[in-house]
Amino acid sequence: MGAAVLLKQFESILGGPLGWQSRPEPERALTGVAEIDSATGGLPRGCLTEIAGPASSGRTSLLLSVLAAATAREEACALVDAEDAFSPHSAADAGVQLGRLLWVRCGHSAEHALKASDLLIQGGGFGMVVMDLGDTPPATARRISLASWFRLRRAVEHTPTMLVSVARQSNARTCASLVIECGRNTTTWSGARSVSRLLRGFEVRAQSTHRRKQCTPVFTVRAI
C-alpha cells in the first residue's frame, strides 16, 4: 500500500485534508550574500539557523554579511561572543552599523553564552541574536544539551527574531531550521611572492538544504 493511499484513508477518517505537512513558511530575511539568498531564500525568522564550518571557512564573513544586512534594515542585533573573537574593525569594514549591535563578551564560556542568548531572546525586540561558538572546541559545543537548544528555539518561535549560531560543526540537530555548512574552496593571492603579495580573499562553498533539496551555493569573500 503506497503512502498516498494511506494518506487518503487518514483524511477520510479525519474528515478533511491533513494540514500537518503544510506549516506556514516562516518569513525569511536576506543575508546580503546573493548566492546564499537565491539558494536558501534567506534566513528564517523565528527559527534557529546554524552556520557551521572549520576555521577559515568563511563562516564569520557570512555572519558579518547577515549582520550588515540586518543593521541596514535598522534592526537591533545582538552578538553573544563565547570566545571573545569579534573584531569591530572587521565588522565595520563589512558594513555592519556598529551602533545597532550589542556585543556580549563571554570570555571563553559556552555556558555563559547560552545563558546570555536565552536572556536576550526572552527580553525580545532584537531582529537577530547570534550565538558565536566559532572558536569553541567541538567537544564543548557538543555538550550543550538538546533541551537547551530546544528551549532557545521555542523562545524565538513566533517572534521576528532570527537566532543564528556559528560553530565548528552543527550542534542543534533537529532544533535548527536551516543549516549552512561552509568550506573554503580556493584562496586568492595577488602580486609577486615575497614582495607585493596580497591576500585578496577566498571562495566559499556552502552546503545547505532548502525545501528538502540539497543546494551548494558558492560565494566569494574579498579582503580589500
Binding site: 564569520t60 541596514a72 534592526e75 537591533a76 569591530p88 574593525h89 552599523q97 563571554c106 570570555g107 569573500v221
Partner: protein
C-alpha cells in the same frame, strides 16, 4: 474647601498628591486647597476618606481636618485626633472646646486672657469685638476671628517642592539583600506614584544607604529613557546591589529620583524592531552579573592606526556610518584571539616559514606582508608591529605579527 494634615512624616509629599496648592504651615502641619476634589471623589467625607487612606498607605500618621477656611482646618487638625470634617458655617461651634493656646498667641496676651478666665475658643469668640479692640488691639481681634473659625486668608503655596526623595529609618539593621528588597519596593512605589500624579517619570535613581558602621553606600542607576516601571527599577537595583553589595548592615535608606518628562514615544506600524529600552537595561544588568562589568555594550571604533582599537559603549551609541557599502560581496572577517597567543616562528630569508602557537601549528604555504604600523610614540605605550597574512598547512588563514615582545597570532581569517 481646605484640608490640613498635622503630625509626623512626609506630609508635603502626601499633600501634593492631592493638590498643587500646598502650604507648609509649620514643620508638622501642612495645609492644602482641596476645592474641586469633591468632583473627583464625591462628598467632602469621601475626599477626607481618600486622603486618610493614602496617608495610611504611605505610613503617615497624621490627623486630618477639612474646613471652609484654612485656619479652621489648621485648628481642627491640631486640636482633634483622627479625621475631622467641619460643616460649612459651623466652624465656631465645632472648634468651641479647643484651648486658646492652640492659636499660639504671644505669651503676654495669653497671660492676660488667662487672668480674665478666658481659656477656650468659645469664650474668646463670645467677647465683644469693640471691647477687644480697645483693650487688646488688632492682635486680639485677629485671635477672636480665628477662635470663631471665621479667619479667611489665602494659602502661601510651596513653589519648588518637587523634591522626589524619600527615606526609611530602620529599627534594626538589615543585612540580607532579600528583606532590603521589600523596603526598596516601598520607596520605589511611593516615589513612582508621586511622579505619576504629576505626569512625570524618571531617568535616574539614587540610593543612599547608611550603614551600621557609620559609613554610607551610594548607588545610582541611569536609565536610557525615562520610565515608571517600578518592577524593572527594583530588579535593576537588586542586580546592582548584588554586584556591589554594601560593606555592613544597613540602618537607613534614602532614595531620590530625577523627575523628568516621560518620553512620548509612539510606536508606529513601520518602525523596525528594537528592544524595549528599560527591559533591555534589565536584561543587560542580568547578563553583566555573570559576564562581568564592561563586557556588554555597543562596540565603537577608536580613531587610531593601532590595530584592534575599540571601546565598548554602554547605552545607545550614535549611529556609525558604514565605511564600505558594497554589500553584494561579503568582506573577509577576522576572528581575534583574545588574549593574543604567543607564537614560535621559524624564519626563512626574513619571512615566516613555520608557525607554532596554542592551537595553531603548521608550515607557511603562502604569505603576504610585512604590513607595518607604529604610533603613540609620545605615550608610555607606543606600538610598532609587522603583520603578515599567512596560509598555514593546518588549513586555515591567520594574521600573525611581530613586535618587540616577540611573535603572536592575532587571529584567523574566517
Amino acid at each position: 474647601m481646605y484640608a490640613c494634615l498635622h503630625g509626623p512624616g512626609n506630609l508635603t509629599a502626601l499633600a501634593f498628591e492631592f493638590s498643587p496648592t500646598v502650604e507648609a504651615t509649620a514643620p508638622d502641619t501642612v495645609t492644602f486647597d482641596v476645592a474641586g476634589l469633591d468632583r473627583l471623589f464625591g462628598l467632602p467625607q469621601d475626599v477626607a476618606g481618600a486622603i486618610a487612606r493614602r496617608a495610611r498607605e504611605t505610613g503617615v500618621k497624621a490627623s486630618l481636618a477639612l474646613a471652609g477656611n484654612p485656619d479652621a482646618a489648621i485648628c481642627a487638625a491640631r486640636g482633634f485626633p483622627g479625621v475631622s470634617l467641619i460643616p460649612h458655617g459651623d466652624e465656631g461651634k465645632f472648634l468651641a472646646t479647643l484651648p486658646l493656646g492652640l492659636l499660639s498667641p504671644t505669651p503676654q496676651l495669653l497671660e492676660t486672657l488667662e487672668r480674665w478666665g478666658i481659656r477656650r475658643f468659645h469664650e474668646m469668640a463670645s467677647l465683644p469685638p469693640l471691647g477687644i479692640a480697645e483693650r487688646l488691639g488688632p492682635e486680639g481681634l485677629r485671635l477672636r476671628e480665628l477662635a470663631r473659625g471665621e479667619g479667611d486668608r489665602k494659602l502661601l503655596p510651596l513653589v519648588d517642592a518637587l523634591q522626589f526623595e524619600d527615606e526609611i529609618e530602620l529599627d534594626y539593621p538589615v543585612e540580607l539583600l532579600e528583606p532590603l528588597a521589600f523596603l526598596l519596593a516601598r520607596l520605589i512605589n511611593g516615589l513612582a506614584t508621586r511622579l505619576a500624579t504629576r505626569g512625570l517619570a524618571t531617568d535616574e535613581l539614587r540610593l543612599r544607604l547608611k550603614l551600621e558602621t557609620g559609613g554610607t553606600h551610594e548607588r545610582s542607576l541611569r536609565l536610557p529613557v525615562p520610565s515608571l516601571d517600578t518592577k524593572a527599577f527594583l530588579k535593576l537595583l537588586q542586580l546592582d546591589l548584588e554586584a556591589n553589595p554594601p560593606a555592613a548592615p544597613i540602618v537607613h535608606l534614602r532614595m531620590g529620583v530625577n523627575p523628568v518628562k516621560p518620553q512620548a514615544a509612539q510606536s508606529g506600524l513601520f518602525v523596525p524592531v528594537a528592544p524595549e529600552p528599560v527591559k533591555l537595561e534589565l536584561t543587560l544588568a542580568r547578563i553583566q552579573a555573570f559576564v562581568g562589568e564592561g563586557r556588554v555594550g555597543i562596540p565603537d571604533l577608536l580613531d587610531s592606526h593601532r590595530p584592534d582599537a575599540f571601546r565598548i559603549q554602554k547605552g545607545t551609541a550614535t549611529l556609525v556610518k558604514p565605511r564600505l557599502k558594497n554589500a553584494t560581496v561579503p568582506f573577509m572577517a577576522l576572528r581575534i584571539f583574545r588574549p593574543r597567543r604567543a607564537a614560535r616562528v621559524a624564519l626563512a630569508s626574513g619571512m615566516p616559514s613555520f608557525v607554532m602557537a596554542d592551537g595553531v601549528r603548521g608550515k607557511v604555504l603562502d604569505l603576504a606582508g610585512p604590513w607595518r604600523t607604529s604610533g603613540d610614540w609620545w605615550t608610555l605605550d607606543p606600538w610598532q608591529r609587522d603583520e603578515w597574512d599567512i596560509a598555514l598547512s593546518d588549513g586555515a588563514l591567520y594574521r600573525i605579527y611581530c613586535e618587540q615582545a616577540g611573535w603572536f597570532v592575532e587571529g584567523s581569517y574566517d
